[in-house]
C-alpha cells in the first residue's frame, strides 16, 4: 500500500509546544453535563499525541454536543444537523494530512445522520467519530432520540417510546468500522485512551460515549451508568475477535460493557483512492495545463 494515509505531522516536544488547548469560548452546556468529560478527553488525547492544533479539524452537526468544536483551539466546522460526517470526509479527501474528528450527538449521528454514519464506516475513511450519546434530544428540550430505551417517557413520547433503540456499536460492527469503542464521560481517563486510540487508528474509528443529559434524561443518569458499566479490558475481551465483539455489543441491562469492542486493520478509503497516492489533494497541481490532449477525444 502506498503511503497515502499520511499520519498527522509530528510536532517537536518542548515547553513552547503548540498543543491543542481550550479556546477562548467557554462551553455553554448545563452544569454537570456529560459533554464536559468528552471535550476534556478529546483535548487530553490530542495533547498526548502531540498533534498541533492547526492540523486538527473538529467537525460537528447540530445539537448541544455539536458545539464542541468551539471550545478547543483547533480548526472547526460546525455545520448542520446530521451532516458532520460527509463534511469530515470531504475535508479528509482535500487534505489527508489533517487529523479529522467528527463530534455530535445520538440524534445527529443515529437519527437524521444515520445514512452518512453507515456509509462513512463502510468506506473506512480515516477519521475519528465521537458521539455524545445521552439518549435524548437536549437542545430541543427533551424529545425521544434514536437511542432512547423502549418505554422511556419524553415530551414527544408521553406514554413511552414504542420503537426499539438503535444499537450504535452493533450498527458499527455491521457497517464495517475498523475501530469500535464505547466510553463513559464519567471515566475521562479511559475515554481519553479510547479517543487517542481512535485517532491513532488508521481507518474509521467510532467512539460512542455515554454522556448523560442532566436536564432532560432522568433515566440514563451518571448513577445509572456508574452502577452498570464494566470495562471490557478487565473482562478479558479480545478486541480482534469480531464474534466476541458482537456478543458484547448485545449486552444491555444490569451489566453494560465499555471499552474497545473491536479493532482490525483494513486499507482506508484514502489508501485505496489512487488520486491521493500523489499526496494531499490540495498540494497537487490543478487545471488542464499539460493535459490539453484531453480535448482530442472530442474530435
Amino acid at each position: 500500500m502506498a503511503e497515502s494515509s499520511a499520519q498527522p505531522t509530528p510536532v517537536p516536544t518542548g515547553p513552547a509546544l503548540p498543543v491543542v488547548g481550550k479556546s477562548d469560548t467557554k462551553p455553554t452546556w448545563c452544569p454537570g453535563c456529560g459533554d464536559f468529560g468528552v471535550v476534556a478527553a478529546v483535548e487530553s488525547a490530542l495533547k498526548r499525541l502531540k498533534i498541533a492544533p492547526y492540523n486538527v479539524v473538529i467537525v460537528s452537526g447540530i445539537g448541544c454536543s455539536s458545539n464542541l468544536p468551539h471550545f478547543l483551539s483547533s480548526y472547526g466546522f460546525h455545520g448542520i444537523h446530521g451532516r458532520a460526517l460527509p463534511v469530515a470526509e470531504g475535508i479528509r479527501w482535500a487534505n489527508h494530512g489533517l487529523t479529522v474528528i467528527g463530534t455530535g450527538g445520538d440524534g445527529d449521528g443515529f437519527g437524521i445522520g444515520a445514512g452518512h454514519f453507515v456509509h462513512a464506516m463502510r468506506r473506512n475513511v480515516d477519521l475519528t467519530y465521537v458521539t455524545m450519546d445521552n439518549q435524548i434530544y437536549g437542545l430541543t428540550t427533551g424529545q425521544a432520540s434514536p437511542t432512547s430505551q423502549m418505554g422511556q417517557k419524553t415530551k414527544s413520547t408521553p406514554t413511552g417510546v414504542i420503537e426499539n433503540p438503535v444499537d450504535p456499536i452493533a450498527l458499527a460492527l455491521a457497517s464495517g468500522a475498523t475501530y469500535i469503542a464505547r466510553g463513559f464521560s464519567g471515566d475521562v481517563k479511559q475515554l481519553t485512551d479510547l479517543v487517542a486510540g481512535g485517532i491513532q487508528h488508521k481507518g474509521f474509528a467510532f467512539v460512542d460515549v455515554f454522556s448523560p443529559c442532566v436536564t432532560y434524561n432522568k433515566v440514563n443518569t451518571f448513577d445509572f451508568f456508574r452502577q452498570r458499566v464494566y470495562k471490557l479490558e478487565s473482562a478479558g475481551h479480545d478486541p480482534s475477535d469480531i464474534v466476541a465483539a458482537w456478543q458484547r455489543a448485545l449486552e444491555w441491562g444490569d451489566k453494560i460493557p465499555i471499552g474497545l469492542f473491536y479493532r482490525t486493520e483494513r486499507p482506508s478509503y484514502e489508501d485505496l483512492e489512487e488520486v491521493l497516492h500523489a499526496g494531499p489533494l490540495l498540494k497537487q497541481p490543478a487545471g488542464l495545463a499539460g493535459h490539453e490532449s484531453v480535448l482530442d477525444e472530442f474530435v
Binding site: G76, I80, P86, V87, I91, W93, A94, V294
Partner: protein, 584 residues
C-alpha cells in the same frame, strides 16, 4: 447556406444512440457544425427512441424542425417521423423487417429498402450489426465519405475490437454500395467542409470547464440528466488528479463538496432538481460559512420525478429561493457547450472570489445533447490561483472580518495560527457564535445585522463580476426575444428563419439570471419595441423575476412544459402571431 438533418429511430436497445453519435461524429469531422439530439426514455429496452444529427452552416443551435434522412429500425419510427421529413427525403429501412409503402408517405419522400440483416448475416448472427449496413446507406445519401465512416466506426470500437470492427466496416461498405446502386445522394448532402470540430455534450463541457478551472473534487449522486458530468470526471480522475466521489445521497454529495472546499480544494457537485431539493439546506450552509462551492443543477421536467428523460426550465424559482434565510448566490445559465464551458470556469472563479455558492443552471436539452465546438472556443489555459491567500502575521486573525466588499480573508486548515471555527450559526467576525447566549443582547443584535450586511454586500460585487444581459441581432428590430438557458438555441435558429422571411428580430439573452442589475436590465428592456419571452416552464419563472426586479411585465410569452425541447418553428409561429395580432 447548408442544412442536413439525419434521424434514426427505433426501440431502446436498438443502438439508436450509437448510430446518432457515429453520424454526428462523421459530420463534425467533415468540419460541419452539428447539433445532435438524443431523444430517449427512462427504459433500457423498448419504447420509442430517436436521435437526430443536424449539420450545417450557419451553425445549428437547435435540433431544427425537419429532417432529410430517416433510418427507421421499426414501423413506429416511420409513423412518428415521416411527417417531419422534407420533400426529397429518403427513409432507409430493411424490407425483411417490415414494409414501407411510398404511397403512405408525404409527397416527395422516398423509401429505400436496404437488406441490412442479410448484410449482417454474412458476418455474424448478432442482428445489431444491421445498423452498420444502415449507416452505410445513410452515409452515401448524406454525402459522408465511406472511408470517414470506416474511420469513425473503428475509433468507436477501439483498438481491441478486432473482428467486430472489421464486421462493422464490411457491413457499412455493403450498405453504402447498395445505396449507391439504388439511389442518389440527398439534395442537401454535404461534402467535406474543413478542419474537424470537437463534438461534446453540455455536461462534458461543464466537466471540462470544471477541470480547467482547477476543480479537484466532485461528489455526486446519480441522477438524470446530470450523471454524465460524473462519468466524464470519473473517466479522467486519475489523469487529471481529481477525486470523484459517488456519494450515498445528494445530502452527502454537497456536504462532501463543502468539506473539500473548506479543506482547501476547489469542489463541485452536480444534480438535477430532485437531488438539488435535498441539497437546499446545505446550500445555505455554504452561504453562511462563506465556503466556495459550485453546484450544477441540470433541470428536467418536474414536479417530483416528473419526466426523468425530458427537458424543462422549471427549477428557476427553486434555485432562486433555495435555502432558508438570505445569502448571496449567483445563477449562471449557459445555452450551448461553449457557454457551458466558460460559465463553469466563471462559476469557480466567482465562488472563490466571493466565497459563496454559485449555481450553473443547465437542463437536459443542454446537458445531454451534443454540439460542435471549435478548439479555440474553449481555451484550456485558465489561471488557477493558489488558495493560500492568507498568511499568519502574528496579528489577530478574523475569518469573518468586516470588509467593504463583504469578502473576508480565508485561511485553510493546516495553516498555523489561523485556527477558526466555521459555523452555520450566526457568528461574529472571529467565527464565535452569537446565536444562543448572546442573541437578543443589544450589541449582539447589532453584530448580527452587521454580519448579514457584510455577507449580502457581496451581491453588489457579484453583479459587477458576472456577464450582463447580451444582445444578438440588429438593434431596433420589431421584435425582441427574451430568453435564458438552452431555449436560446431554438430562438437563435428561429431568428435566422424569420430573417429569411424578411422579419428582423433580435434577442436579449441572460447568461446570468441572478443577480441582475435592475437599472441596467430595465434600460435594456426599454430598447425593445415588442418582446416575446421564451421559457420552458409553465408559469414564466424568469418573466416573473424580471418583473419583480424591474417592474417590466413581459406579457407575450411562449411557454413550453410538455417535456420536449422548444422547436424553432414554434418560436417562429408565436413571433408571427405576436407581430400580426399583438399576441394573446
Amino acid at each position: 447556406m447548408s442544412d442536413l438533418a439525419v434521424r434514426a429511430g427505433g426501440q431502446a436497445g436498438d443502438g439508436i444512440q450509437s448510430i446518432g453519435e457515429t453520424v454526428s461524429r462523421c459530420l463534425s469531422r467533415m468540419g460541419w457544425h452539428v447539433f445532435g439530439l438524443n431523444a430517449y426514455q427512462s427504459v433500457i429496452r423498448g419504447g420509442h427512441v430517436w436521435f437526430q444529427a443536424r449539420a450545417g452552416d450557419p451553425r445549428p443551435y437547435s435540433q431544427g424542425d425537419q429532417a432529410d434522412l430517416l433510418y427507421a429500425l421499426d414501423p413506429q419510427s416511420v409513423a412518428v417521423h415521416a411527417p417531419s421529413l422534407r420533400a426529397g427525403s429518403t427513409i432507409v429501412y430493411d424490407p425483411e423487417k417490415f414494409a414501407v409503402a411510398e404511397s403512405d408517405l408525404p409527397v416527395g419522400v422516398r423509401a429505400l429498402g436496404v437488406p441490412t440483416l442479410e448484410i449482417a448475416r454474412k458476418y455474424t448472427s448478432q442482428s445489431i450489426l444491421q445498423n452498420a449496413g444502415g449507416m452505410g446507406a445513410i452515409s452515401f445519401l448524406a454525402g459522408i465519405p465511406l472511408e470517414l465512416l470506416h474511420e469513425v466506426l473503428r475509433d468507436s470500437f477501439g483498438k481491441k475490437a478486432g473482428e467486430v470492427a472489421d464486421w462493422n466496416v464490411g457491413a457499412a461498405s455493403a450498405g453504402y454500395e447498395f445505396a449507391r446502386a439504388h439511389a442518389a445522394p440527398n439534395d442537401h448532402a454535404l461534402g467535406r467542409k474543413g478542419a474537424p470540430k470537437l463534438l461534446m455534450s453540455g455536461n462534458q463541457a461543464i466537466a471540462l470547464g470544471a477541470a480547467a478551472a482547477g476543480c479537484k473534487f466532485l461528489a455526486q449522486y446519480p441522477m438524470t440528466p446530470a450523471s454524465s458530468i460524473m462519468h466524464w470526471m470519473a473517466a479522467h480522475a486519475q489523469t487529471l488528479g481529481i477525486v470523484v466521489k459517488q456519494a450515498e445521497d445528494e445530502l452527502a454529495a454537497i456536504h462532501m463538496a463543502i468539506g473539500a472546499s473548506f479543506g482547501g480544494v476547489r469542489a463541485m457537485t452536480a444534480t438535477s432538481g430532485g437531488g438539488f431539493s435535498l441539497m437546499v439546506e446545505a446550500l445555505g450552509m455554504a452561504g453562511m460559512t462563506e465556503t466556495p462551492l459550485v453546484v450544477v443543477e441540470s433541470q428536467r421536467a418536474g414536479p417530483s420525478t416528473g419526466l426523468p428523460t425530458k427537458t424543462e426550465q422549471g427549477d428557476l424559482n427553486l434555485m432562486l429561493g433555495a435555502g432558508q434565510g438570505e445569502f448571496p448566490r449567483a445563477i449562471l445559465a449557459p445555452s450551448h457547450p461553449v457557454e457551458a464551458y466558460h460559465a463553469t470556469v466563471r462559476a469557480f472563479q466567482l465562488a472563490e472570489d466571493w466565497q459563496t455558492p454559485i449555481l450553473v443552471a443547465s437542463d437536459l436539452h443542454l446537458s445531454e445533447n451534443v454540439m460542435t465546438v471549435d478548439r479555440e472556443e474553449i481555451p484550456t489555459h485558465v489561471e488557477v490561483p493558489s488558495l493560500f491567500t492568507v498568511q499568519p502575521n502574528g496579528h489577530d486573525y478574523q475569518r469573518y472580518q468586516y470588509t467593504e466588499s463583504g469578502v473576508s480573508p480565508r485561511a485553510l486548515p493546516g495553516q498555523p495560527g489561523l485556527q477558526f471555527v466555521a459555523g452555520s450559526d450566526e457568528h461574529d467576525a472571529h467565527g464565535h457564535l452569537i446565536s444562543d447566549v448572546k442573541s437578543g443582547i443589544p450589541i449582539w443584535v447589532t453584530e448580527r445585522q452587521r454580519m448579514m450586511d457584510k455577507r449580502m454586500r457581496k451581491l453588489q460585487g457579484i453583479v459587477a463580476a458576472t456577464e450582463p444581459p447580451a444582445w444578438e441581432g440588429p438593434a431596433g428590430a420589431e421584435l425582441t426575444f427574451v430568453a435564458w438557458g438552452s431555449t436560446i438555441g431554438a430562438v437563435r435558429d428561429a431568428r435566422a428563419a424569420l430573417a429569411e422571411r424578411g422579419v428582423a428580430t433580435n434577442l436579449l439573452r441572460f447568461p446570468t439570471v441572478y443577480p441582475l442589475d435592475p437599472d441596467r436590465v430595465q434600460a435594456e428592456l426599454t430598447k425593445a419595441k415588442r418582446t416575446l419571452l421564451v421559457e420552458a416552464n409553465y408559469s414564466g419563472q424568469f418573466g416573473r423575476l424580471l418583473r419583480a426586479e424591474t417592474g417590466v411585465h413581459l406579457t407575450d410569452r411562449l411557454l413550453k412544459y410538455d417535456g420536449e425541447p422548444v422547436y424553432p418553428h414554434e418560436v417562429v409561429a408565436r413571433a408571427v402571431e405576436v407581430l400580426n395580432h399583438g399576441g394573446k
